[in-house]
Symmetry: C2
Subunit: 125 residues, 2 copies
DNA sequence: TTAATCACAGACAATTAGACTCTTTGATTA
DNA sequence: TAATCAAAGAGTCTAATTGTCTGTGATTAA
């Protein structure tokens, strides 16, 4: 029961891109070096964000990644969902539908998600 | 990023014990059969709960487990912590101390924990 | 008192998820 | 046209999860 490191890398990459005022793309090497991981691995993580339309990838020499239009409204929850998926954190196996334990667990999970929805990367700049 | 199955088994075992009105101990076989897992495995999970003082183990013939005195005040969070540990869900690796991302993550986690603290097994009876 | 029942502990095994690396491919542009 | 880049696939290594099997010692019902 932990957030994955990939989620950490994704959030920090987004923060880096947001802190970069200019619109010139930031290469995966730069982002990877700062986080001390391999470019190929980070590339995979960023591809997930790109598929969700949160960032744009620019191919070619001096290419890299830029934030997509409307990035200011991307929440923490959006980024987390892009990396970890959207399925709920708790599953009841034996009890049938309407499990009272699951109700409590889901309700608690929603409280966390509500909070994660409130914050955007833009709030940290 | 999922709660473990062990947590599910622990919560359901607690619910079963609480729903058993009599004070006679419930054997691990009974609890395991209902949840369709092996008694030895469930025994390991229940031992964790016993070490935290949430349940009592009764050895000998017709032994088993009973809820400990004061079980009504045991929260969902207590049970989850007993199984999953108490460390936080998110860790920042590269950024130094005072990472703004971590602040948001921890804050959100606290919201979930506050909710899990509100509910007890007794609330489900 | 003896045999059954139980908790408990430790060793072991299988499966899955996490955290990567390596290599190739294909697009873009300096 | 050669360098630079993203993207995709296969493969690897490790750790955690999810168990099972076996043995030991305590307790008690018969």
């Amino acid at each position: 029961m932990k957030f994955s490191k990939a989620t950490n890398y994704a959030l920090h990459s987004m923060l880096h891109l947001a802190a970069t005022k200019s619109n010139t793309p930031v290469g995966v090497q730069v982002l990877a070096k700062k986080q001390d991981i391999s470019p190929t691995y980070l590339s995979k993580i960023l591809t997930k964000l790109a598929k969700e339309g949160m960032i744009n990838s620019v191919s070619g020499a001096n290419g890299g990644y830029t934030l997509s239009h409307g990035w200011e409204s991307i929440s923490f929850l959006d980024i987390i969902h892009a990396i970890e998926g959207k399925s709920s954190l708790f599953a009841c196996y034996n009890h049938g539908p309407g499990c009272p334990i699951q109700k409590v667990m889901l309700n608690s999970e929603v409280k966390m998600e509500e909070e994660l929805k409130k914050y955007t990367i833009a709030d940290l700049i």
